[in-house]
């Protein structure tokens, strides 16, 4: 019997049990995830590492409700995600989860302000509150001066900070970042890492996919994915193993 009782998830904000994801491309079936078990507690900072094609991004999409698993159970704060309607998934993405992407995914035709405003618009926030929130967020990521610039007029680091501000707009519990420093120089990447550190210390649950050893080490917990399975889950980090997997995944 299905139950939404949170006690079943042992207090985890993310609870995944035997999660599978198969892509059916017609001729061949690709098994991206082959049964992932993962529990993330509220306020944890988890780095997800692993080589290309290991299924990291697929896992991220499932956690963020951008996609639904083909097998297994996924509970987000105790709520069973399978069986939710399209509109309900949209509401979860709007309120519960913030996404940060490697290639920023800002809309190029509109200003930083309008980009950050977008989730608030979808969330039905009033114009006055939107203005207040967008200005507060852009100040916080240090772009108060660049509010009315379009993304094309910003540097990579600035674009990613706009994207982080956008991800935080609806004040979600969980921040998901997929290679957030992948397109940035080391200095800008460092800024983003600082920002993540602050956000985590502020109590947010952080999940970061990364190849960046430095960023991975900042996370108190590293989960390594390989061939669609969790092969390592180090709660306090083991530097040797870590660097090993990083070398493998960056080649």
């Amino acid at each position: 019997m299905k139950s939404d009782n949170p006690t079943q998830t042992n207090g985890a904000v993310i609870h995944m049990d035997g999660i599978r994801k198969t892509y059916d491309t017609g001729k061949i079936k690709v098994e991206a995830l082959k049964g992932v078990n993962l529990d993330v507690k509220d306020g944890e900072f988890v780095a997800i590492i692993g080589p290309s094609g290991s299924g990291k991004s697929t896992l991220m999409n499932l956690i963020g409700c951008l996609d639904t698993p083909t097998g297994g159970t996924y509970r987000l704060s105790g709520e069973l995600v399978a069986g939710l309607r399209k509109e309900q998934l949209a509401a979860i993405r709007n309120r519960r989860v913030g996404f940060v992407f490697q290639n920023f995914n800002l809309l190029p035709q509109i200003t930083s302000y309008e980009n950050v405003e977008m989730p608030l618009l979808f969330g039905g926030v009033s114009r006055r509150k939107r203005k207040q929130r967008v200005e507060e967020l852009l100040e916080r990521v240090g772009l108060g001066e660049r509010m009315h610039h379009k993304p094309t007029e910003l540097s990579g680091g600035q674009m990613q900070r706009v994207a982080v501000a956008r991800a935080l707009a609806m004040n979600p519990d969980i921040l998901l970042a997929d290679e957030p420093t992948g397109n940035l120089d080391s200095s800008s990447g460092g800024d983003i890492m600082e920002l993540f550190q602050e956000l985590w210390e502020g109590g947010r649950t952080m999940l970061v996919i990364t190849h960046d050893a430095a960023l991975a080490k900042r996370a108190p917990r590293q989960v390594e994915i390989r061939d669609g399975l969790v092969v390592r889950d180090n709660t306090n980090g083991s530097p040797d193993l870590m660097s090993d997997s990083i070398i493998q995944s960056t080649d």
Partner: protein, 412 residues
């Protein structure tokens, strides 16, 4: 806002957007012009047919073709002037019934000008039945003219012009086969399609009793009648046949005795043909517009494809589907309506220009009529445009809503 939308979409496909709007404008123009021509044709046909009279019937007495009560076939039946009074008394529900006797080659002389033409003796109600409207300053025959056998004459406008030129004929004396008559009125110029003994513009009309007095002819060439309710025309015609049958002795079912032109009946057929023409014209118009609509749908599909990433990002940020589909539908509708307004402006201008063109004396141009934009046409066009616009946005919007965000946002 419309311009903003346009500029935004058109950044990449300006040429395509312009062509699409032009296609919609052209489609709207075609639809409106075709409908307007249909409307104008209908109005002009209706006017032209009303020229002879609205919902009247004309009867020609003929010969019997069946034996009846011992009498052989082949007897001519010729009702008299007095029978009109009988019909009037016996058949209820008639607006009017009139006899008509024609003198085909009559000389009409005024001063040194003589023309040969048709003169008809008619009852006074004939003017009403046959739509003989006098030019102001004149009048049609009245009952006193008939009762007193006055020598008064009402002229068709062509006859009047041939004899009097640009002078006003009213009050002047006209010799009808050498007998002096006073001109009491001239018929206003009118369009006339239906005729059974020439155009009304070419004849002259005198009271039927005056006619009888001058020519000694009592037998009616035609009977013209109109019912109070056109629906009863067939029944009333049968009653008239029964009245005449009992007097002259013929089989009322013998259709050759009383040749009948029932304009109520022929009007129905005419209206059906007109309706057919209108439907045909609107189908062509709607098809032309549909081609434009397909253009809009096409451009919106391209827009959706172009914005796949944008749509994916919006979905990731939690946009519900109406946030995705709404702008697409709105944009498709905007293109369509923009083209529609353009088409409407062009159609209005063209129709205005055409109404300024003189039709001259060309019967064909007159018959074609003036294209007319009626409110019902505007409503039809707006409805068709709205539906096409919505459809042109709906299908691309559906595709937009089916974008898989996970697929779209995958690192390129």
């Amino acid at each position: 806002m419309i311009l903003q939308l346009f500029m935004r979409a058109s950044r990449v496909q300006k040429k395509r957007a312009i062509l699409t709007i032009a296609a919609i404008a052209w489609g709207t123009l075609a639809l409106l012009l075709l409908l307007a021509f249909g409307e104008g044709l209908g109005i002009s046909l209706q006017n032209a047919w009303a020229g002879m009279g609205t919902d009247i019937a004309v009867i020609w007495p003929g010969e019997t073709t069946k034996p009846w009560k011992g009498m052989p076939a082949g007897r001519p039946i010729r009702p008299r002037i007095a029978d009109i009074q009988t019909i009037r008394l016996r058949v209820q529900g008639l607006t009017g019934v009139s006899g008509e006797i024609t003198s085909w080659r009559t000389t009409l002389t005024h001063g040194d000008k003589t023309v040969t033409g048709r003169v008809k003796g008619v009852s006074t109600v004939w003017g009403q039945l046959r739509n003989q409207i006098p030019v102001s300053g004149g009048r049609f025959l009245n009952p006193l003219d008939d009762a007193q056998r006055r020598r008064v004459i009402f002229l068709g406008n062509t006859v009047a012009e041939n004899i009097f030129g640009s002078d006003d004929p009213v009050g002047k004396t006209l010799l009808v086969d050498q007998v002096p008559y006073t001109v009491i009125g001239v018929m206003i110029e009118k369009m006339q399609f239906g005729a059974y003994s020439g155009m009304d513009a070419d004849h002259a009309v005198i009271p039927i009793r005056t006619f009888h007095a001058q020519y000694g002819r009592d037998r009616l060439g035609n009977i013209v009648l109109k019912t109070e309710n056109p629906v009863h025309m067939r029944a009333k015609l049968a009653e008239v046949a029964a009245v005449l049958s009992s007097k002259y002795g013929f089989d009322p079912a013998d259709e050759r005795v009383l040749g009948t032109w029932d304009t109520v009946e022929t009007g129905k057929i005419r209206n059906n043909i007109l309706l057919g023409i209108k439907i045909f014209l609107s189908v062509i118009g709607v098809l032309t517009l549909t081609v434009g609509g397909i253009g809009v749908a096409n451009i919106m599909y391209a827009v959706v494809k172009e914005r796949t990433r944008e749509i994916g990002v919006k979905m990731a940020l939690g946009a519900r589907s109406q946030w995705i589909t709404g702008p697409i539908v709105l944009e498709g509708l905007t293109y369509t309506l923009l083209g529609g307004v353009l088409g409407l402006v062009m159609a209005t201008a063209l129709i205005l220009l055409m109404s300024l063109l003189p039709t001259g004396d060309s019967m064909a141009l007159q018959a074609l009529g003036k294209p007319t934009l009626s409110p019902s046409i505007a409503a039809t066009a707006a409805g068709v445009l709205g539906i096409i616009g919505l459809l042109a946005g709906y299908f691309p919007a559906r595709r937009a809503a089916s974008v898989d965000p996970a697929e779209t946002l995958r690192y390129e």
